[in-house]
Symmetry: C2
């Protein structure tokens, strides 16, 4: 029971940030993706691809299935914006944002509290014994903060 409450709280926190980010992305169009959040800083399009790819990474980290957006890693995670790295599919990213979140929500809804408190693929059984708070749910908390962090930047470039 209490475990379920914790999981619901963390998912609620996640959903609020995704909802706020979606509200922002709904307010811009493809032409806005090249706009910088501040002079010389990341573009809206880069942060959009970055968030999709990083969040999608949880599918692999939680052993939920096959990642759908690993092809975005090179341009939007491994490399910074403006290095001339080709940005694939940037025009379609706004619709992929919603699709990617629907996929994640569907996966998350099927996870039991025990799943959430279990280890993820980047750690060992021993890691979980040493630090039970290092689990899938802690990754979700981190990713939630990560969305907030970039959303704070994105709103600076809003309409």
């Amino acid at each position: 029971m209490t475990k379920e409450i914790f999981v619901q709280m963390a998912l609620k926190s996640w959903n609020i940030q995704i909802k706020n980010a979606t509200k922002f992305f709904d307010s811009v169009d493809d032409a806005s993706l090249s706009r910088e959040i501040a002079p010389g800083k990341n573009t809206i399009g880069y942060l959009l691809g970055h968030l999709i790819a990083v969040n999608d990474g949880m599918i692999a980290l939680f052993s939920l299935g096959n990642r759908q957006y690993a092809h975005l890693d090179e341009a939007y995670v491994k490399n910074p914006d403006k290095l001339g790295t080709e940005k694939p599919d940037s025009a379609g990213l706004l619709s992929e944002w919603k699709k990617s979140n629907e996929q994640l929500s569907a996966y998350f809804e099927n996870m039991s509290p025990e799943d959430w408190f279990g280890k993820h693929t980047a750690m060992t059984d021993q890691d979980l014994i040493s630090d039970p708070g290092r689990n899938k749910l802690s990754v979700l908390l981190n990713r939630t903060n990560h969305v907030s962090y970039h959303l704070g930047q994105l709103v600076l470039a809003g309409n």
Copy 2:
């Protein structure tokens, strides 16, 4: 036991964001407080006062004691930057940042898991029965995201 783990996870997430924000504030000086995070947007000093005051609000919301920074609310929470509202003590805010976090840490360390899962002062007993996930710990998760959100903005004005 699991309740304790979740409290530890939420506090760890909070501490990481506070540590990262402290790293940023350690990198600037009083002269930098008037620098804008982006042209025409909030200044570093405004966001510093804003975070101190909003975080300090948890002392009242959690019935922990008397707030120490309520005098900052008018200039840094109730009003936006640049309205000409006088900003009190802006020169001393960098040292107050650390002091305010030490106070919060001391309070948080003395809270039991039962405290964290109890209602805060802005809700009724019935609210907690209707939604047990609406508790003090959920406020901490929100405030953690709030620090992240503004930290994402602050780093844009970094040295």
